[in-house]
Symmetry: none
Subunit: 540 residues, 2 copies
């Protein structure tokens, strides 16, 4: 893609959607991205069309250094976004050129750099242990140096709102030091997250009027107002907004990218994402939750599974007639959907609807519909969930419709032995006995865990008779413990793939191995269906 | 308690903290309160000092009718709060006195009634299928009737913000009908939740100026701004704020009571709760999550377990010096606490700080600090996480400090057999061989899963020599698969309890059973430490 603008400038520079999931978002308790995760996150964010992706702090964090190196080596092709390195101003008493941390920012080869600087006099004096003049020199010197090396520079003015309240002159001097030295945006950070919207609006308006600088906003969610504060700052004149996917971040988190963008586009009419990108909001949110290995928040604004769900009752019939009166927007715009939560009758309707989504015409099978609705209800009460396991649901539907081909074998027994031997070696071995067309088949295999061994043994028994099984792989495995303490049941989701696509099945039991077995059996039964002809669930 | 004010008036009527957890909060997907739950929720809210507790819709919901009956029969003694019944205005074409739904509100014996009324002309015409004049008559008639019966009346003006934008005159006529007939507060409801703070401020200010009515605010969280919208409305003049505990509610939920109250008291200096109540915020939030059977949100403003948790090595060193610079407030004020998370990002300072939090003086052991920082970094890179496993971290620290007592036994081997027998029976059996003070101990036990069996076998081996082990229970067990596909490792968190408290340990391995074993061993090692003397991690 040809660019005429200098490095670090996205195609449309008028408004910056700036994502810091990979740096500030990674501060969230429980998140630990691998370099491969970071590359995957950046690709999703770029596909959504954010303007800037802050990738981490090269030099300070080895994984971040590697991330920038691999990005520069061609592993990260960005269509929309500019990659940004985050770092600190030079230390007191040296020059930027000699500061190894500043050099690491250059070495990252990122076209843009965000420098964090203290703007609260108390932090300058008590944490940094220097004075305002030296702090401003550190800012000016580092910005000049990076600008001289051709980098675009943003200034994160840390603790700005607290600092501005305590000593406005110092806070403004820090911004001025950066902007005079060539920084492009002065980002006002509510680092401790204690602000509320009207306070944000007042300060942003005042600082814009007093300085004329291009302003950005970075909010933390400690008052539960990060999204509102960010949007309010934009209304007050900020044209650069820093967010994280799903609001990941330290303590209560940062401003949620998806809610901020959803609000800017649909409430304020600001086209801050490329055409068509808004419809990817929900999918992107869930994919990034998956990579972070955090369950998606079903009550999240715009993208949550419940964000447009109405509990059956007072409004149910009215919603059916006039949905726009009961939603703040059309959920399809952000790639989400409306759901009416099921009563017994609505259950039948949703079973039929789901059936037709899977290509099964259940309309002519009222008994099958009732049976599926009842089974789903019973099983979900016992901890099953078919939302993410379409293949298991399709097997249930086909079985209720009398499709006898859904069970390609019958289990007689299995046994798994797991040993931690005296020498320290850990081994798992499984033996499976199944009946296939009247014949008794036995398979024994080792694996690196009980489920892996069970899967291998089952295949060893069946593959000689079903050669196509060699093409089927167990590609992902998820475990969730559903209730607490002694009554816990375990839900296992198994994702399987063949040359043509993937599908997901579910099993639930008090014993994790048996739950896994149930999901594995469904996985192979579904593979057999795919082998036989066209099916509904799973990809391609 | 003697009152001189009329029924339905709390002791301080100047500002209303109005909770609707039991009515609007119960619309959340997954919440289903029993009557006993509702009574328990009301007691917690009253103890916190809210002014009004909306208990439900008597007449429409049988459980709500029973709740009010049992409350009136003396099962609910309220010290602070007034109980409120929620209901609708009379139907079109009848009188309030003859409408059974209105009579049920009287029969509830609640001293105050909140009436919901349509204030958006589109809803009046398209959902209610009547005209503005009849809608206003329904409002005026019902309010007058209830006032005549001695009830205090609030008006929930449904869809007010959307209605006011579409047709301000109709929206204001509805408020006027209610207030002229004797309602005390006109509550402006953002029912679809599409508003943002500056829009809320504008409408509340304008409606207050045009009407002079006492205004209330009720916000839904569809833009992720319910808390900010509620607080902004108060700043713009509303003196009655409707919230739900933890923001429970339909779709994305309602304004979170704890965040709204936290903001009003600590940011705006409004003493809206009785003296001393703010310190109960965190405890109340967690208790109400428990009753709703929803895991507390650890990232919730003010009350979340992570709300004052710091991860970054960068900040940790400064926090050590000056905690107030890095929190927006003192967490103790809301009954919460500061935590330092030790992760791969942690430097030596975080390890020392965490050590002192756990009561270990690492300052005099520089080598131990380095060794712990290095081990944590290495293990976290391999999938371990010590953030939620303080007990495992403390064992690591004590071991680095040369405390030889941290391993109460040595494993020789274990074997777990998991069978699905031909009859369909599923059994798990474990045998453990351990060395204790030179003696070889063997335990064999069955369990409802491999981990449960292993835990039982280990205890069977050790308990004859360590009687105190009988008091230790495995109380929770969590499994997470960390990477995808064939290279997956499994992380297991085990929570254990004894008569005095609980603690959490972690294990990571490619094999789920071995990962569980590692966490179980730490759990018992930590139990042995607790038995020996005071420890740092875990409760009490």
């Amino acid at each position: 893609m040809s660019r005429t603008a200098p490095a670090g400038t996205p195609l449309d520079d008028a408004f910056h959607v700036y994502d810091t999931t990979l740096r500030d978002g990674a501060q969230r308790e429980g998140i630990s991205y691998s370099v491969a995760d970071k590359l995957a996150v950046a690709r999703h964010l770029d596909a959504l069309g954010v303007g800037f992706i802050e990738g981490g702090w090269p030099g300070a964090m080895p994984k971040d250094t590697e991330f920038f190196a691999r990005a520069a080596a061609g592993e990260l092709e960005l269509r929309h976004a500019v990659l940004v390195a985050f770092g600190s101003t030079r230390r007191a008493g040296t020059t930027a050129a000699r500061d190894p941390q500043v050099r690491a920012l250059l070495d990252s080869q990122a076209a843009a750099v965000t420098l964090v600087a203290k703007s609260d006099r108390r932090h300058i004096e008590r944490a940094l242990r220097t004075d305002v003049a030296e702090n401003c020199a550190m800012v000016a010197d580092t910005v000049s140096f990076l600008r001289g090396e051709g980098r675009r520079v943003f200034l994160d003015a840390e603790h700005f709102f607290d600092g501005y309240k305590f000593d406005p002159d110092t806070a403004l001097r820090v911004l001025e030091a950066a902007m005079t030295a060539g920084a492009d945006v002065a980002v006002l950070c509510d680092t401790n997250g204690g602000m509320l919207p009207l306070g944000i609006a007042e300060v942003v308006t005042e600082v814009a009027a007093r300085t004329g600088f291009r302003l950005g906003i970075h909010c933390q969610d400690d008052t539960g107002a990060a999204v509102a504060n960010s949007v309010t700052a934009v209304q007050a004149g900020a044209s650069h907004v820093q967010c994280t996917a799903n609001g990941y971040g330290e303590r209560t988190g940062n401003a949620d990218l998806f809610a901020v963008v959803g609000n800017l586009v649909t409430k304020l009419g600001m086209p801050v994402l490329p055409d068509g990108a808004l419809g990817e909001l929900t999918r992107t949110s869930h994919a990034l939750a998956e990579i972070a290995n955090i369950a998606p928040d079903s009550h999240q604004a715009y993208v949550g599974a419940s964000a447009f769900a109405h509990k059956a009752g007072l409004h149910a019939s009215a919603i059916k007639v006039d949905p726009e009166l009961y939603n703040h927007m059309n959920p399809v715009v952000v790639g989400n959907g409306q759901r009416v939560l099921v009563t017994e009758m609505a259950g039948r309707a949703s079973v039929e609807l789901k059936g037709s989504e899977l290509g099964l015409d259940l309309a002519g099978h009222p008994d099958a519909v009732s049976s599926v609705a009842r089974t789903v209800k019973e099983r979900e009460a016992a901890g099953w969930s078919f939302e993410a396991a379409d293949a298991s649901l399709e097997l249930l539907m086909r079985s209720a419709m009398g499709d006898g081909a859904v069970a390609p074998f019958t289990l007689e027994s299995y046994r798994v032995i797991m040993e931690h031997r005296a020498g320290g070696e850990v081994v798992a071995e499984a033996t499976v006995r199944v009946l296939l067309d009247g014949e008794r088949l036995i398979g024994t295999q080792e694996g690196n865990g009980p489920v892996n061994a069970l899967d291998a043994a089952l295949r060893a028994a069946l593959t000689p008779h079903h050669r196509w099984l060699a093409d089927v792989q167990l590609s992902d495995y998820k475990v969730r413990i559903l209730s607490h303490g002694t009554d816990a049941v375990t839900r296992v989701l198994v994702e399987s793939t063949d040359h043509a696509g993937s599908w997901t099945t579910v099993g639930v039991h008090g014993n994790v191995v048996e739950a896994s077995w149930l999901a594995l059996v469904d996985a192979l039964a579904y593979a057999a269906l795919r082998e036989r002809g066209p099916v509904g669930a799973g990809t391609a």
